[in-house]
Each structure stands twice: as C-alpha cells, then as structure tokens.
Subunit: 257 residues, 2 copies
C-alpha cells in the first residue's frame, strides 16, 4: 500500500465539518465528556484520556454530578471540570467502570445526564464496567457490546448482546473490555474521528508496543485456578450489580425488557 | 510446571520481612513514591499507579515540591499527597516523563529529593523520559537503562547505557520505555516485590491482554515517514533537553562524566 499521510485525516475532518453544519450547537472542536464518579477505576479513564488529549483540536471534559473531587478505587483524586448542567455539547460521551458503578447505576441524575446527552453525541462509549452504566441508562438495548470479562454475563439484563472482544463497535456505540482495553479503545476512537494516520502518530508518541511480562491478561490465557479464585472472590459484587441492573430496568422505561 | 499459587509471593514477602528488619525506618507496608511535576505525561504515572494500587498492603504517594495541584501536558489535574519533606520512607522511588521533565531537571529541590531518597529505596525507577530526570540526579551513571524511543540517545550524557527494550532491570534500577510501557513496568515491579502469582492476578483483573488496533507503536514498526516527521518535529525539544542534561552534569558532582 502506498503511504498517503493524513489522507484519512482529511476525509474524517470533512465528515466532521458536515456534522458541524448539520448539528445545532456543535463546533469544529471535538468535545469529549468523560464521566467521573466515586470509586471509578482510574486507568479505565486515564488510558483513553491520554489518547484523546493528543487528538487535534480536542477538549476533554471530566464531568461529574457535583464539582467535588472524586477518588478512584485505588485512591487517585480527580477533579471534575464540569457539572452535568454546565458541560458543553459532547461529540463523544464516555463512561469508565470500577467498583463505583453501583453508585452510578443508582444515581438518577447520572443516568438522566447520559440519557440527555447520548442522542446528540457522535459516539456513545465505555470502557470496562462503564458499559453497565450505559446499559442502566437504556443506552445499550439492542446493541452488541463488551465489558470487563467478569461482567459480560450481566449485559443481557440491559438488553445488550455480550461480545467477548477487546473493542466492539455497533453503529455509534463503542465499548471496550476491562481496564487496560481503554488504550486500544482510545486509538480506535481516534481512528474513527480523525483517521488511521492520526491514530498511528499518537500510538508512536505513546510508544504503544505492549510487551506484557506475564501471559495472564484474559480468562483464556490465565490459569483456571486463578480465574476461579477471582470469580469466586467477586461473586458478591457481581450479584449486587445484577440486582441493581434488574432494578434499573424496572424504573427506566427506555431499557429493553 | 506444577502450579504453586502464592508460592512466589511467600518467598518475596519473606524477603521483604528481612528488608524490614535490616532497614531502619522501613515498615511492612510497601510505600511507593511517585514524583509529580507540572506538564508530566499522566499515563506514564497512572499506568503503573493502577498496578501499584492493587498490590497487597501498599500505599502510593504522589510527591511534589509544593502541595499545589499539578496539571499534566494533556490537562489532567493531579493533587500531591506529600511534599518532599513529609513523605515517608519509600520502598520504590518512581519518576514519570513528559514535556515537564525540563523543569524537573532544572529544579534543584527535585534532584536533591531524588538523591536523598534513592539510597534507602529498594527500587529506583522511571517510565518514559523520567529516566532523564533520574539521570540528571546522577542516579543512572553506570547503569543500563531505557526511556522513550526519541530520547534513548540522550542517556549517555548522564552516564547511562541506553538499551532499546521495553523494560530494563539493572541491579535495583528499573526503567521503562515510553508512556504505555508503564503498564508492563508496573507488572514487572509487582512481580519483583510480590512474586509472579500476584502480578498475574493483577494482570487478569486489569484484563491486560493488549490488542493495538494499529501496528505503529515503535520506530521499528511505524512507517519511516512518520518516524522522520515526529523526530523532526521534536528536534528542538530534544536539543533543549540535551543542553539541560549537559548543564546538570556540570553542577552535579555525582554524575559520571
């Protein structure tokens, strides 16, 4: 293949310009809204953040119910840039995962924000168990999607078809698997928005040439004993998530039953 | 090989207990100190942070010259947990990279902090161009090390031998390549501290089974045109870094000439 630097970018920018004309309130700057909530898994968010912040003419907004600092499950403090009301129109709506999704699924303002912003977004996205929050908001009903391997079996509760792949694109829904999938996810989104050449340049600057020192990153490759041990240890959490998702289905008319 | 769950961990914890007895001021809790400075590349730090925060009985401290919030090159705000003076004894000393390393290399208090804490640390570590900050502090003289691919040729200025590998371990120095290498690095450090079984469990929880959507993560695999374009675009920054490292060599007697 003959190299055509930035050819893809030109096409994608033209598409974005058409979208800009077509959509009221949209601008040529790409606005990404990343949801913050207490006890999120920070790498679900900071992986794609690193990619998004390197895209041309892009602004990343950390968006939260209140403007208070949010602390991740591992103790990292993250300060919101915007509340739900003062957040600009978003081209990409993003939800990370983590133990804190239980609180997000029970938060009516959080689900309402996602439901309100999704129709105008070019892409509605998640990494890890963020997919369960999108699902609780009724935004994955009828879509193929992925999530953290431990939670794949919960997706049907919200009407989604689970797909055990690293990244799943179904129309304008883009979902990533667990935690570190956020980097692959970010590059996929960069490619969709700006073309493969921009994504490749970002990949090279981030030296994303992974070399895991162990081969234990998926239930396919990890030892059966380890998979069983983690599954058993997380059973109570997963049961709680199942209960919350069932409850969200009852209160949210937009979720497929 | 017969599976021996946590066998490795037991051995490593025994080693840590011996270290605890041997080193005054050390505790059984593993303390990791991660340096913050303005315009760091956040994923250099948040990648390994995610691994460290999942290690048993471990506390991660974000350490900075002042207690003011630090903003990454991509705009993410990070709040320090400790100043240089009130930071507890550190088992692992870690330095991230990013455009802000120029300021860190010129900051006498920052280099003094690293020089003061390195002798008592079990591991002295970096990801990406954080290696240049360690080098400016005289802490890589005589060691093999790696850094972001664009900066490998700067390592000899601080007396280090550049090695174009993802992770380089030389005695108690552990250095990682650019940005995303921080995840591989974190798992290597987890394996060193707690054994391979603990690192494997963390890898599975983080679903670290990378699948880059493009093959452009290293100058070996990226197109020659892209490598040239990025190298040219960064030339001025690299020249400035070279000048700062040469200057640090003159003012820091501990750096090999």
């Amino acid at each position: 293949m003959v190299a055509a630097p930035f050819g893809g970018e030109t096409i994608c920018l033209a598409e974005r310009f058409c979208a800009y004309i077509a959509r009221p309130g949209a601008t040529l700057t790409t606005h990404i809204g990343m949801l913050l909530f207490p006890r999120l898994t920070q790498l679900d968010l900071t992986g794609p953040y690193e990619v998004f912040a390197r895209m041309p003419d892009t602004r990343v907004h950390l968006v939260s119910h209140s403007l208070e600092t949010v602390v991740s499950d591992g103790g990292l403090a993250l300060a919101p840039d915007n509340g739900f009301d003062d957040c600009p129109p978003l081209d990409v709506l993003f939800v990370p995962g983590g133990p804190g999704i239980s609180g997000a699924i029970e938060s009516r303002p959080t689900l309402a924000f996602l439901q309100q912003r999704a129709p105008a977004a070019q892409y509605v996205t998640s990494v890890c168990t963020g997919a369960l929050v999108l699902g609780a908001a009724g935004l994955l009903a009828g879509y193929r999607a992925t999530t953290h391997w431990l939670s794949l079996d919960l997706l049907p509760i919200v009407g989604a078809t689970p797909v055990s792949e690293r990244i799943v694109i179904d129309r304008n829904r883009i979902t990533g698997a667990g935690v570190t999938a956020g980097i692959d996810f970010g590059l996929v989104v960069a490619g969709q928005l700006f073309g493969a050449d921009v994504a490749r340049a970002i990949q090279l600057m981030m030296e994303y040439d992974p070399a895991p020192p162990f081969d234990s990153g998926s239930p396919r490759t990890a030892s059966a004993a380890l998979v069983t041990r983690i599954t058993e240890r997380c059973q109570k959490l997963q049961d709680e998530r199942k209960r919350l998702l069932m409850a969200s289905r009852k209160t949210d008319g937009s979720t497929a039953s």
